[in-house]
């Protein structure tokens, strides 16, 4: 730009000279302004970064002084130092703030000078360009368009690529929430024990049990083979049961039969037969009734074993000598009693075997009901305190009563009944006690996982629905567990889904569906929790007191109180009592539901509730 065209005349020379002088001035001042701005900007940046990294008010020295003062509260000189330092720091702080403000204005002023001078320089050197020689006609437009097409398409592809990259790299953690929430939302049908659905494992074959005779999953589901029915879940399909009954008037009662020996065990039903146990200090019996008519078919006395002969277990009256509910595999009935004896009786009433496990050291008396897995009877035999190392989980061969495996449990005495679940193909025995719920492999009794979430006297049995296991005791909490873990999962949020603490039961087992979990506290609160979140949905209240576990038949929940049974229709926001039944005597047991009828044991009688 210094090589300008030679001036044409004097006037122009003069003009050009003046312009050149101005331009030089403008260029120089713009350089000066640029340098000035750069300096101010650097200063500002330095000051600003310093402020961010270490605040002047956050001085180490100051903090140290304060620390010293805490050590020697009376030091007047130290205080003076602190005050001076504090003042200095605060002044510094505000000075720095002012510095930033002033700096910004200075930079702005510099920018204005720079702009004005640079603009002037540019304008002054501006010259009308001389036209170039006429170029041959050239289709620039087409050429440029052709090039632009490629870049535009390229940009489009880049955008698509970026979108794909975004889509692949940014994933949501919430995907699993939906996955867990959707399946089986509507189905409340119980998941049954996977008994003989698959081919029998080698372990079962080795015991010599006739595997062909094992009941199928459908058979189990169609009967009420154990405490709380198939799987121990307390859920039966919808059936036409009366909404109200009264034993005194006979309304809604099909039959009523006396029971010869007392017991808190609940009835079980297989086909047309109903089984029950009863016991007192001396005698123990298994009773069989005709489910249709209520006629007692047979009564088999169970003799004492060498382990229990002549010994009487210490127990509370509430529990009694026959608290465990028997279990059946359709071939035999397996009954257990408070003295630690297990017995198998066939369907004709013939005693097949007895097995003594020893008198349990249990403060209220043994109450845990046995469970079945394939051809094994599973007994949760918890005793005394963890220190005593007496608790065990035992699998007995159903045909012979021999111990298949016995796994020690470092837990205290407890009262829940084990359940066997099939979680994502993994079969597990779930056994609750103080302080652990532990899952075992039913094949060999090896522990799969454990979770420390129970305390004190654990009464309610676990339950399982839609991939989630619910365990509870009155205190401290109910815990929802995804039983996919291994080892100790106590503090693992991946498996411990939620806990709830309100209105927990001390004896009644929870009832779970895919959507809701219901717990019945002994003092008459039926509380509904959201199965996925553990959020308390509603409470239903009654004056009665409860030890019986709630049972769901279709959409209705039956809760047997000491005096009356309430039929409840649970909804999303609350529950409605739709029926009421009385037995005319106290009821502590849990009903069996089969073939359109409900069987419940009162203090002295066995009742069949149903439409005649």
């Amino acid at each position: 730009m210094t090589e300008s065209k030679p001036p044409q005349n004097d006037r122009e020379t003069l003009h050009v000279g003046r312009v050149a002088a101005w331009r030089t001035a403008a260029v120089r001042s713009s350089y000066v302004a640029a340098v000035f701005i750069a300096l101010v900007a650097l200063l500002l940046l330095w000051d600003f970064s310093g402020r961010l990294v270490k605040d002047p008010l956050d001085s180490d020295a100051y903090r140290q002084l304060r620390g010293q003062l805490a050590g020697s509260p009376g030091d007047a000189a130290l205080r003076e130092t602190i005050r001076a330092e504090d003042r200095r720091l605060r002044e510094d702080y505000f000075r720095q703030r002012r510095f930033t403000r002033t700096g910004a204005w200075l930079a702005l002023a510099g920018a204005v000078v720079l702009l004005v001078s640079a603009k002037a320089a540019v304008t002054l050197q501006r010259k009308l360009p001389a036209p170039l020689p006429a170029a041959p006609p050239d289709d620039r437009e087409t050429r440029e368009s052709n090039a632009a097409r490629w870049t535009v398409a390229g940009l489009g592809i880049a955008l698509v690529g970026a979108a794909v990259l975004l889509r692949c790299t940014i994933r949501t953690e919430l995907a699993s929430v939906t996955a867990a929430g959707s399946p089986g939302e509507s189905s409340v049908a119980p998941k049954v024990d996977p008994a003989a659905a698959g081919p029998p494992p080698t372990a079962a074959a080795s015991t010599g049990a006739p595997s062909a005779a094992l009941p199928s999953a459908e058979e189990i589901a169609a009967n009420w083979p154990r405490f709380r029915g198939p799987g121990g879940l307390g859920i039966a399909p919808a059936m036409d049961l009366p909404a109200a009954w009264d034993a005194e008037s006979g309304e809604g009662i099909c039959w009523k039969a006396p029971v010869s020996l007392p017991g808190n065990s609940s009835p079980i039903v297989w086909g047309d037969r109903l089984f029950l146990t009863g016991a007192d200090e001396q005698r123990r019996v298994v009773l069989c009734y005709d489910a249709a008519e209520g006629k007692q078919l047979w009564e088999t006395a169970i003799p004492a074993t060498p382990e229990s002969e002549g010994k009487v277990p210490e127990l509370s009256e509430d529990t009694g000598f026959a608290a465990p509910t028997p279990v059946t595999d359709g071939l035999r009935v397996y009954a257990m009693f408070a003295n630690g004896d297990v017995a198998a009786v066939d369907f004709e009433g013939k005693l097949v075997w007895t097995k003594g496990l020893g008198i349990p050291k249990n403060i209220y008396g043994h109450a845990s009901s046995p469970a079945m897995w394939r051809d094994r009877v599973i007994v949760q035999f918890d005793q005394a305190t963890p220190k005593d190392q007496l608790s065990r989980l035992i699998a007995l061969d159903a045909a012979t009563g021999e111990t298949v495996w016995s796994t020690p449990r470092e837990v205290a005495n407890s009262w829940p009944s084990p359940i066997v679940i099939d979680h994502e193909g993994s079969q597990q025995i779930i056994a609750c006690s103080d302080p652990f719920v532990i899952a075992y492999n039913p094949a060999d009794g090896k522990e799969i996982w454990r979770c420390k979430c129970l305390r004190q006297d654990v009464g309610p049995s676990p339950t399982y629905a839609d991939g989630i296991l619910y365990v509870t005791s009155e205190f401290p909490q109910m815990t929802a567990i995804r039983p996919s873990g291994t080892g100790d999962i106590t503090d693992n949020d991946e498996y411990v889904l939620w806990i709830a603490e309100d209105n927990l039961p001390d004896t009644c087992s929870p009832l779970a569906t895919a959507r809701h979990v219901y717990v019945l506290a002994s003092y008459g609160y039926l509380t509904c929790y959201d199965a996925k979140s553990g959020e308390l949905r509603w409470e239903w209240e009654s004056d009665d007191s409860y030890t019986s576990s709630p049972t769901m038949v279709g959409d209705l929940i039956y809760v047997f109180g000491l005096e009356t049974c309430a039929v409840i229709s649970p909804g999303g926001e609350g529950a409605e009592t739709v029926g009421k039944g009385t037995l005319g005597e106290e009821c502590l047991t849990t009903p069996a539901v089969h073939g359109g009828r409900m069987f419940i044991r009162g203090k002295e009688h066995l009742f069949c509730i149903g439409k005649k």
Binding site: M1, E3, K5, L52, K54, D55, L57, D58, R63, R126, K127, P129, A130, L132, S316, I363, Y364, Q456, D457, E474, F475, P476, E501, D502, N503, D506, S522, Y523
Partner: protein, 359 residues
Amino acid sequence: MTNQPAVRPAGLGVIVVVATAALVAGLAVWLIDRSGGSGHRLPEKFVYQIDKYKQIDPGLLAYEEVFCFDSGLKDASAVAIGLEDRIFAAGDRSIRIFDSRGGRLAAIELAARPSCLAVAPADHPQAGRVFVGLGDQIGVFSGEGQPLASWPPLGEKAILTSIALAEADVFAADAGQARVHRLSLEGDVLGAIGGQRGGRGWAPFAVPSPFFDVAMHPDGWLRVVNPGALRVEAYSFEGNLQLFWGEGGARIDGFFGCCNPANIAVLPDGRFVTAEKGLVRVKIYSADGQFESVVAGPETFGAAAGAVNESLSDHEYTAVDVAVDGKGRVVVLDLTTAKIHGFQTKAGSGESEAADGSR
């Protein structure tokens, strides 16, 4: 050169400068912390550092939790122990009565929100009676929940916050008027201690927040918390100040903040259980005011226990009420979670299991 156009093709230098600037700009945008998650946090000095005080030295914790259950109240206000160690929890518009396992025994429905309550102990002439502060007046109920009397209001500005029972006297702490009313068992006003307008045995109470507690001590003097002064003061029934103890401070042996302790209770042997609000600490002091041990700290109550505050930063209602039962267990009602906690000395825990086992 004369043909220099106004806009020239880009030289290499220009391309480099522009590309660098574009890159820097892109990087700067990329590095912007917009969400405030990892942001340029305030330096330490600007942060309210309370965590240090929230942690309790485990060596000082002489108690352990033996029970905890939900009272079910939405707006819990006070707890007291009745005959046979029954737990009375006041709140909403009711008083709920529990056994120590959380079993609900009974409930008394009220016409107004209860602010405080006291139950006459077994050695009291009116054993089992329930005295409830209902805003500005006291209601009396039988142990079964039958309403017996409703005493006249104690003043337009009265806000009753605590009731203490002596053999023949009822003392009601009134935060609204910063005084303690002395009443007969029939509800006649016998006098007052403190109060800004003065009373017999003029004594000043500074009550900056609606927490103002009284308790009877076995030595026969009434204990009144003077929260603004961070002291527990002993008065004769006539209102003469006998002695006082307590000092402020966030340290474990002091009372935190502007106005604490919020609630006190007296152990059978004359020692004190104090409950502070804000920084919730339940502590034991000897009968003459020496700090002894801690029952439970902030980790057990309030937000730490899952309480939901109406105002997220507000800790005022992060408070607890305390009571002591016949076995010397400390019963704490968490006003924010409405849970009732029971604490027992660690040494005496064996006893409790024996008691439980006798079910």
